[in-house]
């Protein structure tokens, strides 16, 4: 029995006159680790921004457990849906602890002082992301991998049902990439957290996600399990490049090899 958390129907939207996301229909089940892939300009980030209410749809809607998200108050929405962006540069040197406590803002009234419970939630979020030892550091003293873990902790402090992530690993080296993705996997498995993640790296997406959506020109080209989406036919059709798709000998997940033009 499927348990739909987010239902996207006929979603169309973009900026000014330009429509970037066109009539997307998509169901996200509870406990999904959903990867959104596609070439530049295919609408991955725009789709995520529509899902997080940063921009409003031109047509269609998104339902969170049956209720239209544009009709929920922004505060309530943010208690249930949290967002982690690609890279956050901050001009002000807040401490890590202050940043993570900001994750409690959706749960607090204006001028309400954080209670013991808020502190405990923030602390738990930091230990979950293995960043508790950083709590007294200033955010601008951290490495990019550490900073990303802190921002995931802030999102977790919101105690959301869904975590939306926009290329959270694209500025990280492979060591930090794996660290962040392993953390997400752990959240997905242990906390049954639903994750929707936009990714550039097809192999990482294939290795971690249980479901994938391949976008092309703002529409869904293919969705399904990684081995259904990451086929050489799909990738060549969408990315216009020649690839070989093989199986990872250990995890038996698909992986994609690029072929330079001269060697074809």
């Amino acid at each position: 029995m499927k348990d739909t958390l987010l239902r996207i129907s006929d979603l169309t939207g973009g900026y000014n006159q330009e429509l970037i996301v066109k009539s997307i229909c998509l169901d996200i089940e509870k406990g999904d680790f959903l990867g959104i892939i596609g070439p530049n300009g295919s609408g991955k980030t725009t789709l995520l921004r529509l899902m997080s209410r940063v921009i409003s749809p031109r047509k269609g809607n998104i339902e969170l457990e049956g209720s239209d998200i544009s009709k929920i108050s922004l505060k309530n929405f943010c208690q249930r849906v949290a967002f982690v962006s690609q890279d956050t540069t901050i001009n002000f040197s807040f401490s890590v602890w202050e940043i993570v406590l900001m994750g409690r803002i959706p749960h607090l009234k204006r001028m309400q002082v954080e209670s013991k419970k808020d502190f405990l939630v923030a602390k738990a979020a930091l230990s979950m992301t293995d960043a508790l030892h950083l709590k007294d550091k200033k955010i601008d003293e951290l490495s990019s991998g550490e900073r990303q873990r802190v921002f995931i902790a802030k999102a977790l402090a919101q105690e959301p049902d869904v975590l939306l992530l926009d290329e959270p690993t694209s500025h990280l080296d492979i060591g930090h990439q794996i660290q962040v993705l392993d953390l997400l996997m752990k959240l997905n498995k242990d906390k049954k957290m639903t994750l929707v993640i936009v990714m550039h790296d097809l192999n990482l997406a294939g290795a971690y996600c249980n479901r994938m959506v391949l976008l092309k020109d703002g529409s869904v080209f293919k969705q399904g399990m990684p081995q259904e989406v990451l086929t050489y036919q799909n990738i060549e059709a969408v990315y216009k490049t020649v690839v070989v798709v093989n199986k990872n000998p250990i995890s038996s997940k698909p992986y994609v090899l690029l072929v330079p033009q001269e060697q074809r």
Binding site: L74, Q79, S85, T88, N91, F94, K116
Partner: protein
């Protein structure tokens, strides 16, 4: 629970620094009561013969406190919502816009009670002008923001000079008063009106301090935390314009206070607005009271315009911050 205890220890440290600042403020106020064109020993300040001077100086001190905290808190808000460390009412042209509005109201002979309103209209006009000058593709260009502000400021100041020199109206107090400011209190009723506006404004801003924290880590980040940024930005810009406009009506145009004090206090207590705003109010109060003492006592009986002192201290701060923001980029 060591963890939460640490946090309370930190809060107690803030309490201590806050008390120290309050004591310094008290000392500065005492100094300001004693020093001036004539120095009155503290023991004699309450005597009947000195009552007039005492009252006059108290009013000046009130004006200094209101002016300092109002401008500095406005600076904090503008720096947070524009994400520009150089933003403050003077450099964004808001003060000059307000000045122009007030000058026009005085020349038209409007009742004094409405000066802040006229100044507010001028301030809003300059805000709209500066933002549309700095806007490119629906986004505010950080580099041209301060440039637009300074240009609008210079242009409006020129119009003020023109209007003041053409008009013989005594209520205008002359060109220097408008361009460099003074804490000489001409109208007690107006001072009380302005003080209430500034006090209410600061309280209102403080209510939004958690939102300001969220906005200063990024607009989209703030939206993801449930902060309705467009609404809150509009409210805060109107409140800061109102504070600036009211202050211009009693003190003229005074620059750089909103730049220096918030930055100093961020170095001391960090960027958390819940703590930063009260600390900045105190520090800015101390700063203005001392500036006024200097203005009055360097060359008595002449008074140096107070804006000269803030500019002499503020310009190096500006250069320092500019260099630092360029290095970050």
């Amino acid at each position: 629970m060591r963890f939460i205890k640490n946090y309370t220890v930190m809060k107690n440290n803030f309490k201590k620094s806050f008390i120290i600042l309050a004591i310094i403020l008290l000392l500065a106020v005492t100094l300001a009561v004693i020093k001036g064109a004539v120095n009155i020993p503290f023991a004699k300040i309450f005597l009947k013969e000195n009552q007039a001077i005492f009252q006059l100086r108290l009013l000046r001190i009130l004006a200094a406190l209101v002016l300092g905290s109002g401008l500095a808190v406005s600076g904090i808000v503008l720096q947070a919502i524009l994400k520009n460390s150089l933003a403050e009412p003077y450099l964004l042209g808001t003060s000059s816009g307000a000045g122009l509005g007030a000058v026009i109201a005085i020349i038209l002979g409007v009742s004094r009670i409405y000066f802040p309103l006229a100044a507010f209209l001028g301030a809003i006009l300059s805000v709209i002008l500066v933002y549309s000058l700095a806007r490119q593709n629906n986004k505010i260009n950080q580099q041209s923001l301060i440039l637009s502000g300074v240009i609008v400021s210079v242009a409006f100041s020129a119009i003020i000079v023109f209007l003041v020199s053409m008009s013989g109206n005594e209520a205008l107090h002359g060109i220097t008063w408008w361009l460099w400011g003074s804490l000489q209190v001409y109208d007690i009723k107006l001072l009380f009106i302005v003080s209430s506006v500034v006090l209410i404004g600061i309280i209102l801003i403080y209510i939004f301090s958690q939102d300001l924290n969220a906005i200063s880590i990024g607009e989209e980040e703030a939206m993801h935390l449930g902060v309705e940024i467009e609404k809150i930005k509009t409210i805060l810009i109107i409140v800061t314009s109102l504070i600036t406009a009211s202050l211009v009506c009693i003190c003229g145009i005074i620059g750089f206070v909103g730049l220096m004090i918030p930055h100093m206090m961020r170095l001391v207590v960090g960027p958390n607005h819940k703590i930063l705003i009260p600390f900045t109010c105190l520090a800015a109060g101390i700063f203005m009271v001392i500036c006024d003492v200097i203005a009055r006592s360097v060359m008595p009986p002449l008074e140096i315009p107070i804006g000269v002192i803030t500019a002499v201290l503020g310009a190096p701060t500006f250069i320092f911050l500019l260099k630092r923001s360029q290095r970050v980029k």
